[in-house]
Symmetry: C2
Subunit: 253 residues, 2 copies
């Protein structure tokens, strides 16, 4: 299995931030994100669909979710849903994301432990990113708590690497923690990381690229790319930002 590495373009629609000429269209989100996908595809190693931003618009949003998944097409597609529940329930989520939505990779939440993640890991040829040290301020509340002398997020990583399953496993490590990222990359040189938080959340692409030391990683930017322009040429602006980010990340353009 080839591990995707490079820029990941996050598809997080926010109707209020869409270009004015699209906002009143009946399929505004689908139109907007399809243009973004086409314009940024040359610079993107992957696209990431965050389910929350579609679910917030109810049934129309779910229609858009399926249309956008189609528009991503055969490009590498992460569905960022951070699901996790007891075993039979996680098995249902895995069906939804891998079988129905045809995700190549997903994000999952570790708090409920092995049987909440193993139904995702049971899929061959898929990648499962377990959230470890996230980009948000609340990551300090529990993820950094010391457990037998190491932070909980480290314990999560060591434990998760021991779980059963055929899927490749990776971890979500926020771009807002470059020192920890560098230490984790040294500890886990071959493990894929999904690194959100570049751009709107403050992560610096040059710093992240250095910290990642060339390991397999997707570095995600959502708002910084999507809302780079607000006129009819929004897609060109998005492509420019994506290209600059890909260069700054020292990945191929």
């Amino acid at each position: 299995m080839v591990l995707p590495s490079g820029l990941c373009v996050g598809l997080d629609p926010d109707l209020e931030r869409l270009p004015a000429h699209l906002r009143q269209q009946p399929k505004a989100i689908e139109q907007f994100l399809t243009s973004i996908i086409h314009a940024t595809r040359p610079h993107a190693a992957a696209f990431k669909i965050n389910t929350a931003f579609f679910e917030q618009y109810g049934r129309a949003g779910l229609d858009a979710l399926y249309a956008v998944r189609d528009a991503v097409g055969s490009s590498y597609c992460i569905i960022d849903a951070k699901r996790g529940d007891i075993g039979n329930t996680s098995a249902a989520y895995a069906k939804a994301l891998f079988d129905d939505l045809q995700a190549d990779a997903v994000t999952v939440a570790p708090y409920m432990g092995s049987d909440s993640i193993e139904p995702f890991l049971a899929y061959d040829n898929k990648l499962v990113y377990i959230i470890a040290l996230t980009s948000n301020p609340g990551s300090a509340d529990f993820q950094r708590l010391k457990v037998d002398g190491e932070p909980l997020y480290r314990r999560v990583m060591h434990t998760a690497l021991g779980w059963k399953g055929a899927a490749q496993r990776g971890f979500v490590v926020g771009a807002t923690h470059p020192e920890e990222l560098a230490a984790l990359r040294t500890a886990f040189p071959e493990v894929p990381f999904l690194i959100p938080g570049v751009g709107a959340q403050g992560g610096d692409p040059h710093v992240i690229s250095a910290a990642n030391q060339g390991g397999p990683a997707l570095v995600n930017s959502s708002r910084g790319i999507l809302y780079a322009g607000s006129g009819e040429d929004f897609a060109n602006h998005a492509a420019d930002v994506a290209k600059r980010l890909a260069v700054a990340l020292a990945f191929s353009v």
Copy 2:
């Protein structure tokens, strides 16, 4: 705000377990669960919709989700989705669950900390159950790890009670841990608990009722009620099991 207390009927559709006469119908899930809701309503203090079991059937499943939400109507409705993400993303999930799907209560995952939960807590007149000690075997992996001498799930509860927000907050405590449930009820006598794991997962309703000591709690059973019968009279069997459970839980019937 009146806290719901009593039996919670979990609505987890599994096409393969539906009565044979319904299985081939175009709206099998909707028909099945609408009958279950009508038959068990006299014994149920709440209904719990688990999103995974609808999402697994793709767009048809999402149609059923909305239809089943309508069928729950003005009965107390928990949407069990265990969402949790960075702040702006959790705000989108909160809109999806509280505004669009009109949940009275939701479940959320705590691993990402304060800003991942506070968008849910911002809603007045809603109840937010934070997962603490879950019913599944994997609950031992992280939830019981010792942090400064106390298990992580206790730290989650203490910390979460300090977060900002207008919503009532409660916790998910699995029925498979009656000793811990009794200790938590003593420590938090007024805090609402959502207690899954009675029935198929092995929790005993009499033991749970004693451990809960009359505190505000919804005790959930899903598979044990839904699949009590497999013939055309499945709804009567479901109602019988629900009634017996409600009596065993020593709540009103």
